[in-house]
């Protein structure tokens, strides 16, 4: 059986035993072990989908940052078919790590997410006998520059060049590029053809594989439906979101109220402090907006209380390519999603049936009409189509 490693740049949902300690100590400070080792972002969730399905066919190891790795004896392996190993995150973040390089040599296939600088240089210098797959579900060049806003202006240009330089090296080495929606494929073909050296790989499509996130059937049959609409904002507030549009909605329509849940991610303090602070007081003081600070390991109860989820982003390239997992999560629980008309998920098979396209406040009336027209069958079609087997079939065939 081929040995396959998936490199995670951040925490993944590591299942913990009941006997696991409550705290993880780092640099002398104590942290909640669940915050550190189980609270995954969208990328971590996607990686778990990969590990779950690929481990049926390959000997899979998930390489987790040491910062997010619990004691070995705290991991519950009873329900998974793969293993976790730590790597030195600081050593590999925008640097070539000798330690990580040695770890990579143990595997036949490496899958990396091109979302941050972790492992970029190691991937770029991977020996040619090891297959390198880049999961490019998140278009790094689009988001990266905006994320640099948290650094001093005089440093941003330097960091941008450094990051793009490493990114180009990584992409040039990639044997296989995994994308999540059709627009991304076209974007990467345009990007790739400029980044790479001349060779025949531009001349056919053998190096691109689509892997959409599976959407599990967690349908909640009896959702609360009233004449008033209670919407849910589910997840962090990042620089590319458009919270102002949400304020506009509740200010314009008397029968709409919104709850923000999961806005405070336990990590990513810099982003939180820089961007969320701007909205916190306004959210807190608005009479029709509430904030739910709970963290839900199982959000079934949360999703059962609302009529739809709202995901509003600023128009532009980030939204144009984003494969938002919060949208897919919501659909998994049977909740329709009001989101930008320009989001690429509208183009994916069956998803448009449960997505409510929104351009501006003038659309809201028709959005509410469409919300009421969405049927149970629309969700069941999706669950049948986006099974884990279907989503990963092409990738598994190729890697085999």
């Amino acid at each position: 059986m081929k040995k396959l490693a998936i490199l995670s740049m951040d925490a993944v949902r590591i299942p913990l035993l009941p006997t696991a300690p409550n705290v993880k100590i780092e640099n002398g400070e104590e942290y909640d072990i669940r915050d550190k080792c189980t609270r995954a972002t969208a990328l971590g969730q996607r990686l778990t989908f990969f590990a779950d399905e690929l481990s049926k066919y390959f000997d899979v190891t998930v390489l987790v940052p040491d910062l997010n790795y619990p004691p070995d004896n705290a991991i519950d392996y009873s329900k998974i078919n793969y293993t976790f190993k730590p790597y030195n995150w600081f050593d590999a973040n925008w640097h070539y790590s000798e330690y990580l390089a040695q770890q990579f040599l143990e595997y036949d296939i490496i899958i990396m997410q091109s979302a941050g600088g972790v492992g970029f240089l190691n991937g770029a210098k991977l020996p040619s006998h090891i297959i390198l797959c880049i999961d490019a579900c998140l278009p790094f060049p689009v988001e990266y520059k905006k994320l640099l806003d948290i650094y001093p202006p005089d440093k941003q240009g330097e960091y941008y060049q450094m990051g793009m330089n490493q990114y180009k090296q990584l992409m040039n080495r990639a044997d296989l590029l995994i994308y999540a929606n059709d627009r991304q494929r076209n974007f990467y073909e345009g990007l790739f053809i400029q980044l790479s050296n001349y060779n025949t790989k531009f001349m056919n499509d053998m190096q691109f594989i689509k892997v959409q996130n599976p959407i599990a059937d967690r349908y909640i049959p009896e959702r609360k439906m009233n004449s008033t609409y209670q919407f849910l904002w589910y997840g962090g507030i990042y620089p590319w979101y458009a919270v102002d549009k949400v304020f506009e909605m509740v200010d314009t329509f008397d029968n709409i109220s919104i709850t923000f849940s999961g806005v405070l991610h336990p990590r990513f303090k810099k982003i939180r402090d820089n961007f969320y602070r701007e909205y916190h007081d306004r959210l807190l003081n608005h009479p029709k907006i509430s904030i739910d600070y709970n963290y839900y390991d199982d959000p079934t109860t949360l999703f059962s209380m609302y009529d739809a989820t709202i995901v509003m982003a600023q128009e532009g390239m980030e939204n144009s390519y984003s494969n938002r997992s919060r949208i897919l999560d919501s659909i998994s629980y049977g909740l329709p999603v009001i989101t930008n008309k320009t989001n690429p998920l509208h183009d994916e098979p069956f998803l448009a049936d449960v997505l409510v396209p929104y351009t501006d406040i003038h659309d809201m009336d028709s959005c509410l009409v469409k919300l009421n027209d969405i049927a149970d069958e629309d969700f069941y079609n999706i669950y049948q189509y986006y099974t884990s087997e279907n989503c990963f079939n092409d990738l598994i065939c190729r890697l085999k």
Partner: protein, 390 residues
């Protein structure tokens, strides 16, 4: 406000017939269409730059149009900066040029006071690996690096980039991102503008369709990405059909034809006929056939190509068979009753299924959509608006 617009042709179209320009030099065909429509605007003064590559054949007549023509030395502008082009372009407020095989790249890249509009409908980079097949293996990477560099210099200087179908939009966003011309901060304004393929109906429209389709037309030149041998093999095992390969010799691709494809066109069975050149009189031409076909090798080029031959056949009522990845399917999604697709790894079975599915027609919905979207002159209204605003 008065707009002086230069439209630079980059192909050797001297002495070409209209159909030769349409099928052999699609970039020039599209630019001439743009010139035709733009010059009808009241305050637009359009000049078309026609290249000559042979000083003895530089007398090309483009009269009877509402735009002027200027000749320039095309040879001097291939992968080079041309002083002649530079001085002639100075008086124009806007320059429109197609992305072609290196003509004018450096001149466009160095313009400073002119609004530069590039037409990327016929994309360059996906074609380049195929074009380089005719060069020594040892030098291909050198050529690639050099051409890519010049291409990027041009792209950096572009104010507006025209594209032809939706897939190209994201492709060019990727390209512009890779040279840092676009990033997250560019969300409020996109330099990309869609101008669909600009065609005119000039020939007889096919309206009668056979119950047993047997006459297949391959119309168009054999280029590195073409896959005629697949069809030839199919014809050998299906004697009941006839296939005409028409206009297969392109002036630019004689080398790749001779070195690679020619062997497949010797010892052909009786049901295949080859015509090197395009027919002189194409009136009623399509009515002789049941279905048109153009198959390519599934390279990346296929995904971004616009094949004028296929569009023309479809517009004139001839159903077509294309690769499954063809961009035509994006423009006419779900209309598989007019555009039939084959997968290369299942070609024979797909062909059998298509030909058994008689009659093959161009459906009314496709015809209506062509009328509404493709043959409408208002298609370039956004470009007119852009030129007026900037």
């Amino acid at each position: 406000m008065e707009k002086n617009i230069a439209i630079i042709l980059t192909d050797n179209i001297c002495d070409c017939t209209d159909d030769q320009i349409l099928f052999w030099y699609p970039r020039s065909y599209r630019c001439l269409q743009l010139a035709h429509y733009l010059s009808r605007e009241e305050n637009f003064f359009v000049t078309v730059f026609v290249p000559y590559f042979d000083s003895e054949r530089k007398t090309h007549v483009y009269n009877n149009h509402s735009y002027e023509t200027i000749l320039y030395n095309g040879k001097a502008a291939i992968w080079n900066w041309s002083l002649e082009l530079e001085s002639k372009l100075k008086k124009f407020t806007h320059v429109i040029m197609p992305i072609s095989q290196g003509v004018g790249f450096l001149n466009i890249g160095s313009l400073t006071k002119t609004n530069v509009i590039i037409d990327g409908a016929y994309s360059f980079l996906p074609e380049l690996p195929g074009a380089l097949l005719g060069t020594p293996v040892k030098f291909r990477k050198t050529y690639w690096d050099r051409y890519l560099y010049y291409y990027q210099l041009m792209l950096q200087n572009v104010n507006c980039l025209l594209y032809g179908h939706d897939r190209q939009y994201y492709y060019y966003e990727g390209q512009l991102t890779s040279i840092s011309k676009l990033d997250w901060s560019a969300f409020q304004f996109s330099p990309l503008l869609k101008i669909p393929p600009l065609f005119q109906k000039t020939k007889t429209i096919k309206t009668e369709y056979a119950q047993t389709p047997t006459k297949i037309l391959w119309l168009g030149s054999i280029q590195p990405q073409s896959y005629p041998e697949l069809l030839i093999e199919y014809a050998k095992s299906h004697p009941q059909i006839t296939i005409d390969f028409v206009g297969i010799l392109h002036p630019l691709y004689k080398k790749s034809y001779k070195n690679y494809f020619k062997k497949y066109f010797s010892n052909l069975p009786n049901n295949i006929t080859v015509y090197d050149n395009l027919p002189e009189d194409v009136t009623n031409f399509y009515t002789n056939y049941d279905v048109g076909i153009l198959i390519s090798r599934g390279w990346i080029e296929e995904r971004y190509a616009i094949r004028n031959e296929l569009w023309d056949m479809l517009i004139h009522g001839l159903p077509i068979i294309v690769n499954k990845e063809s961009s035509l399917l994006l423009e006419f999604s779900n209309l598989t009753d007019s555009i039939y697709t084959v997968q290369l790894n299942n070609f024979n079975n797909d062909m059998d299924a298509i030909l058994n599915n008689a009659p093959l027609i161009v459906s009314d919905p496709v015809k209506k959509r062509i009328e509404a979207n493709i043959l409408s002159v208002t298609d370039i209204s956004e470009l007119i608006d852009y030129i007026n605003r900037f």
